[in-house]
Amino acid sequence: MTALLPLSVVLPLVGAALCLVFSRVRALQRTVTLVTLAAGVGMAAMVLARVDAEGPTAVQVGEWAAPVGITLVADLMAALFLLFAMLTILGVAVYAIGQGADGRSVFHPAYLVLAAGVAGSFLAGDLFNLFVCFEMMLIASYVLITIGATEAQVRSGMTYVVINLTASTLFVTVVAFVYAATGTLNLADLSGRFASLPQALQLAIGLSLFVMFGVKAAIFPLFGWLPDSYPNAPTAVTAVFAGLLTKVGVYAIIRTQTVLGLDELGTFILVVAGITMVVGVVGAIAQGEVKRILSFHIISQIGYMIMGLGLFTVAGVAGAIFYVIHQIPGKTVLFLAGGLVEETTGTGELHRLGGLIRSAPVIAVAFLIPALSLGGIPPLAGFVAKLSLVQAGLSAEAWVIVAVALVASILTMVSMTKIWSGVFWGDPDEAPPLPAALGATRLRPPALMTAATLATVGITLAIAVFAGPIFDMATRAAESALDNTAYVEAVMGS
C-alpha cells in the first residue's frame, strides 16, 4: 500500500518519459500510454479496495514525517474519484488513438503528465503539493488545448492560459496566507490549527480558497473561459478536460472547505451554486453547436456539486461526491459521442445535421444514454445523483436551492432534446460537409473510437447498476470528510 500511492502519481510520469524517448515511434508511444493507464486503473482499484476496508491511508514521501514532508493521502473520497478518473482517462486515450488525434509526438507525454497531475491532485495531503500537482495538470492541459496550433485554438488557448495563470498566482498567494496564519500547509495539521484563528481571518482564507478553486471549477461568475476554449480543442482533449479538470477543481473545493469546516460560507456557496446551475443551462439552450452546448452544460453541472457542499450535511456532501463520480465518465462520453458525430459528418452545427438515428444508430445510442442520465431520467446514474441532492436539500430545508435545482434540471433536459432533435431526428436544414451524412449510406466512424465511446457508456451504466454500493461508499466518504478524525490520524500518526 505504501507503494501504491506514490506509484499512482509516478507511473504516468515514467510513461511520459518513455513516450518522450520514443517520440519518433508512434506505436511504442501508444503501447506505453495504454499500459501505463491500464496499470493506473488497476492501482486505483486496489487503493479503493484497501481504503474501503481499512480507512484513510497516508504515505510520507522519503520518510519525512508530516507536517514537514510531502504527504500523500487516500481517503474514500479521493480513492473513488481516482478510480473513475483513471477509467475515463484510459477510455479517452483509446478514443484518441482510434481517431489518430495523437499525430503530434507531444500528445502522449502531455496526456500522461495530465494523468499524473490528476492523480496527484486527488492524493495530495498538503496545500502546496496540491498546487504542484494542479500545475502539472494545467501545464499539460496548455499543451493539449493548443495542440493543433490552429488560429482559433491559439486565440482561445491564450484566454485559457492567462486565466489559469492568474488563478494559479492567486493559489500561491493563498498558500502563503495560510502558512503565515497557521504555520502549516498540511491539510490534516491545518484542520487542527485553523479553528483557533480569528473569525474574520478564517472567512478570508476560506473565501480566497473558494474563489481560486472556483476559477478552475468554472463556477459563476468565473466560468467565462470555459465555453470559449473547450470547443476549439480536439475532441479527445475536450472530452478529458470536461470530465476531469473542472472536477478536480470541485474536489479541491470540497476537500479544502470540509477541512476548514466553515459552515458560515454555506449560504454563500448555495447562492453561487444556484446561479451557476441556471446561467450554465440557459447558456446551453442559446447555443447551436453540439460541443458548445455541452461546454455550457459542464458549468451548469458544477452548480449541483457545489450545492451538495453548500448544505454542509453528510447527505449533501455524499450527493456532491456521487454527482462528481457520475459526471466524470458521463460528461466525457457526451463529448466523445459529439466527436463521433463530427468525425462522421464533418460538423457539429445543429442546423447542418439531422437524421443520424437512421444513418448512425450506434452513435445515437451512445449519446442518448448519458444525455438522459444528465437530464436526470430514472433509472440512470444522473437520476440517483440529482435525487440524493434534492433529498439532502429538503432535509436541510433549503427550499429555494431545491426549486432552482429542479428547474435547472428540466432546462437541462430541454437543451439535450435540442441536440437530440437537431442531430439525430429530422433532416438537416443545410447539407453537411460530408455527403455520406445525408443518410444515404450508413456512417461508420473508426471502430476503436466507437468501442471506446461504448465502453465509457458502459462505465456510466455500471454506476447506475451499482448505484447502491457506490452511494453507500459516497456517504461514508462524506462522513469521513466532514468529521476528519480518521484522516488526521492517518496523516499525523497518532
Binding site: 507503494a3 518519459a17 524517448v21 507525454p109
Partner: protein, 166 residues
C-alpha cells in the same frame, strides 16, 4: 545564410573566440554545481540552467548547427532525464525503503580522497538533463522562426544560398 547563424550577417570573430574560450569552462561549472547540490548551493536545476546558458551562447555565435547537443534530439534528452529522476524514486521503493528515500555514499576513494554523494544525485542528474533538453528545445523552436524570417528578410530571393556559402 552564413554558416547557419540565426540572424544572418558575418560571423563576429570576437564573439566566436570568446564563446570558444568560455564554453567548456561554463560546462565544467555546471557539472560542479550539479555535484555540489546535495548540501551546498547548486543542484540539478541551477546546473542545468548554467549548461543551458552555454548552449545558448554557442547557438548565438554559431547558429543551429552547433546549438543543441549533437546527435541527440531534445525530446530524447528530456525523456531520459525525466526517466532517470522518476526511476530514482521508484528504485528506492523497490529497494525496500520509502518512495524517494535518500541514501548517503561516503567513502575514501583512491586518488580522489573522500567522496560523498547522496541518493538525490541521480535525481538531480535527471533534472539537469531535463533542463538542458528544455533549453535546447526552446532555443531551437524560437530560433527556427528567426532563422526563416530573418533569412527571408535579408535575402528574399535566396541568392546567398545558391552561391553556396552554406
Amino acid at each position: 545564410m552564413t554558416d547557419g547563424r540565426p540572424f544572418g550577417g558575418d560571423r563576429s570573430p570576437v564573439l566566436d573566440e570568446s564563446v570558444r574560450l568560455v564554453f567548456h569552462t561554463v560546462l565544467v561549472l555546471s557539472v560542479y554545481l550539479l555535484f555540489a547540490g546535495h548540501n551546498a548551493p547548486g543542484g540539478g536545476f541551477s546546473g542545468g540552467l548554467v549548461a543551458g546558458a552555454a548552449i545558448v551562447l554557442r547557438y548565438l555565435a554559431g547558429g543551429r548547427a552547433a546549438g543543441a547537443v549533437p546527435g541527440v534530439g531534445h525530446e530524447v534528452l528530456l525523456g531520459v532525464g525525466m526517466l532517470i529522476s522518476t526511476l530514482t524514486g521508484v528504485a528506492a521503493l523497490v529497494g525496500g525503503t520509502g518512495f524517494l528515500e535518500a541514501w548517503v555514499f561516503d567513502r575514501e576513494v583512491a586518488v580522489l580522497g573522500t567522496v560523498k554523494f547522496t541518493g538525490t544525485l541521480p535525481f538531480d542528474i535527471g533534472v539537469y538533463l531535463v533542463v538542458i533538453g528544455l533549453i535546447a528545445a526552446i532555443v531551437d523552436s524560437l530560433g527556427r522562426e528567426a532563422d526563416t524570417t530573418e533569412a527571408d528578410a535579408l535575402d528574399p530571393d535566396g541568392v546567398a544560398g545558391r552561391e553556396g556559402t552554406a
